[in-house]
Amino acid sequence: MSLYFLRRALGAVLVLLVISVVVYAIFYVAPGDPAKLACGPRCNPEQLRQVREQLGLNDPVYVQYWHFLQGIFVGHDYSTGTGTMHCDAPCFGLSYQNNQQVTDLIAERLPATLSLSVGVVVLWLLLGVGIGLLAVVRRGGLLERALIWLSLAGTATPVFVSGLALMMLFCAYLEWLPFPSYVPLTDDPEQWAWNMLLPWVTLALLGASIYARMTRSSMLETLAEDHVRTFRAYGVSERAIIGKHALRGAVAPIVAMTAADFGSLIGGTMLTETMFGLPGVGQMLVRSVQTVDLPVVVAVVMLIGAAVVVANIIGDTLYALADRRVALR
């Protein structure tokens, strides 16, 4: 078991290294000169030279990458002009745009992204499993068809359409909710929840339908199995069959999927954060890609990569725990 985790951890480190190399490589072939963007329009050649030097862009790519790795393991010292700023390990460098430490920028924005993701996962499970269950109970009926159609519509509607539509309905027209603006949980939990409600629902609608369809199909699959037929023959109630046996069959895949999805959600919150103006990591990534801010882009992409890898490990572990036929090797 411990050997299993050691192997997975090593694999994770390898994946992250590969990700960082790939992002560096893409960055160097993509258009846009970070020195010019930091230096401002009409920056004169001498100043551009100085800025390029200061950002370390004159070094060969492999040297820049080596400095980046050094920063992660031993930290880095930077000049602020008036003094020295120490960036503790793991140091992902300074933003090209405003010289702020990338780790600080991410730390500042992680709460908003986590607020969104955790809430969305909870809603996915509640809505998704709930709808799936309902569809199974009422299978063959009008309700099942309606639910399947609704969940299809949910999957097919992009966040920037459903988000805006919900905002216009609940904030502008009905005025039931405030236009979302992020309030930290630690400042005011109630306001935090009210302001997060629309972003949660918007993103949850997209995923809940997938969970609903998955719950439904897993359960239907179990219901078609021989042992369920035997249960029925013995006169076990339909309620017990669905609630106890069929649902149990669906639990393992749902748990595994939730863990894996939670990891990729951190990356998938970009559109929702941009739509609702939430100060999260995804929104920062979008903006940093546009301004060719490599240190921020690499760090955020690695963070997303790490989240996906860790979530997958957790997902696999939970799957094994939920289904005793699966062994961790």
């Binding site: 100043q47 002009g81 905002m167 502008a172």
Partner: protein, 573 residues
Amino acid sequence: MRQLPATSRRVAAVAVSVVLLGGAAACGPEKSGDSKGSGADGAPQKGGTLTVLNRQPQKQFDPARLYTSGGGNVPSLVFRTLTTRHRANGAEGTKVVPDLATDTGRPSDDAKTWTFTLKDGLKYEDGSPITTADIKYGIERSFAPELSGGAPYLRDWLVGGENYQGIYKEKKGLDSIETPDAKTIVFHLRKPEGDFPYVATQTQFAPVPKAKDTGAKYAEHPVSSGPYKVVKNVNDGEHLTLDRNPNWSEETDKERHAYPDTIDVQAGLNSAVINQRLSTGQGADAAAITTDNNLGPAELAQVTGDKKLASRVGTGHFGYTNYLAFNPKAKPFDNPKVRQAIAYAINRTSVVNAAGGSSLAEPATTFLPNQKSFGYTPYDHFPAGATGNPEKAKELLKEAGYENGLEITLTHSTAQDFETSPEIATAIQAALKQAGITVKLQGLEFNDYDEKVHKLSTQPDLFLAHWGADWPSGGPFLAPIFDGRQIVKDASNYNTAQLDDSKVNDEIDAINKLTDHAEAAKRWGALDRTVGEQALTVPLFHPVYKRLYGKDVKNVVISDWTGVLDISQVSVK
């Protein structure tokens, strides 16, 4: 040139594409309207909180790094400068007026030396006095590569500025800035610059106390000299809170009113959401404005249909021209007749429609913006009328040897910003087709486009371009585009026609000697007219800005300098 960063253009594009949804709800009930009418009337009073809803976060808040026209919007509430823009409506607002200084500067030595004297009783937020040494220090730190981003003028103009690496590396400072006493500051320039008072409005001229300077970290707690101080700046400029600076005195500042007690800036918002929030005016949004979010064509149509909302739209003009740029060194554009033919063939009505319609764009036949302060002198050397003159264009093409038509490529960006975007390019393509010119369109991603068009080796032969004013004068508008000595080889080049005409260069030098703005403006206008004869560019349109403001917002002032509702004048009580 101060221009919107690429990000905002793209965000705007996304917003516009979904705006129809927003428009439907904009016609919904206005529950908290209280039949207050426009809210823009009535005597302004002190108090309350003004909310600013913006797309772009205030990522830079170091006075050295800000690239502003006239000191900017939010920054100008915190940083006072030697001079500033006059906070008045329309053309009156294009004047430069004293701020920290007693006047707009005293020129000597053919406008190569400029002397300023500070007013009495100027203080920072901590009560300590503002001295000229702090202004000198603020300028010298703006040369540091750690604090890059500002406009290029100080580096280009100050004696010794060209290779100076900033006060952190070269502690001796610049000899060309003298401070004989705490109240006097003297600038020595390489050549005459009659527009120096305008440059002194930029935030690099804000005082920075050396003892409080923390270099690259100064932006976190900049020391205020203006009516407000920064009490909160989180998420990289996405949420700023400004409170009154108790040591600012209205006595020394005739321009900023500072009516609200608190200014709450929320940025990083979606364009459609900002407009919807301003229109609904729920809670704090009733006392909200935006300094960077325009109404798009579809939104404007919705707003105009609602009288109440329409009365809350501010219209602004900022000196800006969108144009077609040629490389006159490349075939077939090396032939003036081909360039003229294209100028004749342009259908400005369709171009204006592509840019959002006549409320959001005005047709342009001059390179200079259509404002007096720039020296606007009407001319139309190649009259295309409202819808183009394809016959005349064909005639010229025939004379140029292209009687069987011509095939060319037009490069544009894919930003969908209504400036260099595909819809404008398509309008031009259709108009030129009438004259027998086949236009192939080449769309580039915005960063790619920006890099290619401003690099001599990759510059396309024909592309959509735009130019905006760093201050309302002909100098910063014409010189970077047409001065032969401003052809830049190793950085971004804006003289894309690569014009190096000694007559033009000499005239630019001669006008720069003038310190009488009205006199200089006349000469800039005449120069524009002369250069225009060469058809190096085809002016297309000047944009007009329409922005909503909240229903409790009073004392709306929009100058032609910025085209934006002036945040320092707004009252919410």
